[in-house]
């Protein structure tokens, strides 16, 4: 026993290092951050309050950039409005003819951005609306241009939004024209990537990318961006599609929280499957 104590005392740095690494890895393997959700809620509330205090600091560069983006968007939208109006009338007529049910539009809650965090390729917003305004964790967030992110934490007066420009993000998206579905990821930089799409699929530069109906996390048909590049490699059967987002994330000041929560039954089923797969992996490893 004395020998063991002497050994620990002699190599206390190494023993501590190993012990703390084991603790860290155990914490990582827990994975599910909701286990400390209560504490994080306090952090979100406190940071929201702090960021609100400093939100008055102007950012001239951001405003200039936003003005330019808005002017371009306005021009684009005004020409599209006419087309849309015609399309809506035509669509209504056709739906009436086919006795289709009208697609419901989700109500939205307008919110101001009071804080932004950029931490190692993960971006977050703090909004000045919270549970008192019926905002809840899991609601999608967009602005006039397109998809912004999803609410990951909410207190009475503030909510925290995980932006889609986030290293962990995976969005089930679809090409508007060909209805092709794929998984959109972000690896830093200005564009998203739609990977592992077979060469034979119909994707063209300029195609709009929307959230897919297959996604349980985001409401469907929200614009995300447009195809700017289709990368083909010799000898590879897949193509990589570069997608430029419609939203200018550097200049976000006002957003809309979509009052729509993912289907809890579907979410529970996915979670259940996820846990089952993890357990199976664990069993295989243990064997």
């Amino acid at each position: 026993m004395q020998n063991f104590i002497n050994f620990v005392a002699k190599y206390k740095e190494y023993v501590s290092l190993v012990a703390l690494i084991v603790i860290s890895l155990s914490l990582i393997s827990m994975g599910d951050v909701t286990r400390i959700g209560g504490f994080r809620t306090v952090v979100v509330g406190s940071t929201g309050w702090l960021q609100n205090m400093f939100s008055w600091i102007p950012r001239p560069g951001a405003m200039q950039s936003e003005n330019r983006a808005l002017r371009e968007l306005n021009l684009q939208l005004s020409s599209e409005v006419t087309k849309m109006r015609n399309a809506v009338i035509e669509n209504k007529k056709l739906r009436d003819m086919l006795n289709f049910r009208d697609k419901s539009e989700y109500p939205v809650i307008a919110a101001e951005v009071v804080g932004k965090n950029t931490i190692e390729m993960r971006n977050y917003l703090t909004l000045n609306r919270g549970k008192n305004d019926s905002i809840d964790v899991g609601m999608g967030v967009r602005n006039d241009a397109g998809l912004v992110g999803v609410v990951i934490g909410a207190t009475e007066n503030y909510s925290l939004v995980e932006l889609i420009v986030n290293r962990d993000i995976k969005i089930t998206a679809q090409v508007q024209r060909s209805r092709l579905n794929g998984i959109l990821t972000w690896e830093g930089g200005e564009v998203f990537e739609l990977k592992n799409v077979p060469k034979s699929y119909d994707v063209k530069i300029g195609d709009n990318i929307l959230t897919s109906e297959l996604s349980n996390k985001y409401p469907s048909d929200i614009p995300i961006g447009y195809v700017v590049e289709v990368k083909e490699e010799a000898g590879n059967i897949f193509i990589t599609i570069a997608v430029k987002p419609f939203v200018n994330f550097a200049t976000l000041e006002e957003v809309f929280v979509i009052k729509h929560l993912p289907n809890p039954e579907r979410t529970a089923l996915i979670k259940q499957m996820d846990e089952l797969l993890r357990a199976r992996k664990g069993l295989i490893k243990n064997k």
Binding site: E13, L17, I28, F39, K116, N117, T185, E187
Partner: protein, 173 residues
């Protein structure tokens, strides 16, 4: 029975230093929330907490440095909404690495010289390498290009701020 704690001058000053470290860690967390967005260059942000971890390890030694770095990492995970444990692990290793450069009663000299910059850069590289490993595990990006692009740039940016930290070096007696 009356228990009297007779703390020596050395222990008292150490205790005060520890309180300063806690305050510094909390302050850097707040700075992290409020300021980081203003000084981010693209997706690269400096890691103030890493500089504090290196500072503590160089001042207090490897043993204290490891524990301080672990706690700082845990705090950083909570504040930055990261997966709990990733920064704790990376920063624990940083505390260990920085502790190698600890020399008793030489903290002032080391922190006040170019050696501090080099140590911070080495530690930042180690930190980002470990952190990159966790990042690429969730995606299909390869480690080397990702580390070359993001790890080294972030390390350099953190090192720039280590120069500012040098200005706060402990005054010589």
């Amino acid at each position: 029975m009356k228990i009297v704690f007779n703390l020596g001058q050395k222990n008292r000053s150490r205790g005060i230093r520890y309180i300063y470290y806690v305050i510094a860690a909390l302050l850097l967390s707040v700075i992290n929330i409020l300021v980081l967005d203003f000084i981010a260059v693209g997706t690269f942000t400096p890691d103030f907490m890493l500089i504090l971890c290196v500072w503590i390890a160089l001042t207090e030694g490897q043993f204290v440095g490891i524990f301080a770095a672990f706690l700082c990492g845990l705090l950083f995970d909570i504040v930055s909404h990261d997966v709990i444990g990733t920064n704790a692990l990376a920063k624990t290793v940083v505390g260990f690495v920085a502790g190698w450069f600890y020399r008793e009663n030489k903290a002032n000299v080391i922190i006040g010289s170019y050696r501090f910059i080099i140590i911070v850069f080495i530690c930042a590289l180690v930190h980002n390498l470990i952190y990159s490993f966790f990042y690429i595990k969730a995606t299909d990006i390869s480690l080397v290009p990702f580390f070359m692009k993001n790890g080294i740039a972030s390390s350099l940016y953190t090192t720039v701020f280590a120069v500012l930290a040098m200005l706060f070096k402990i005054p010589r007696k």
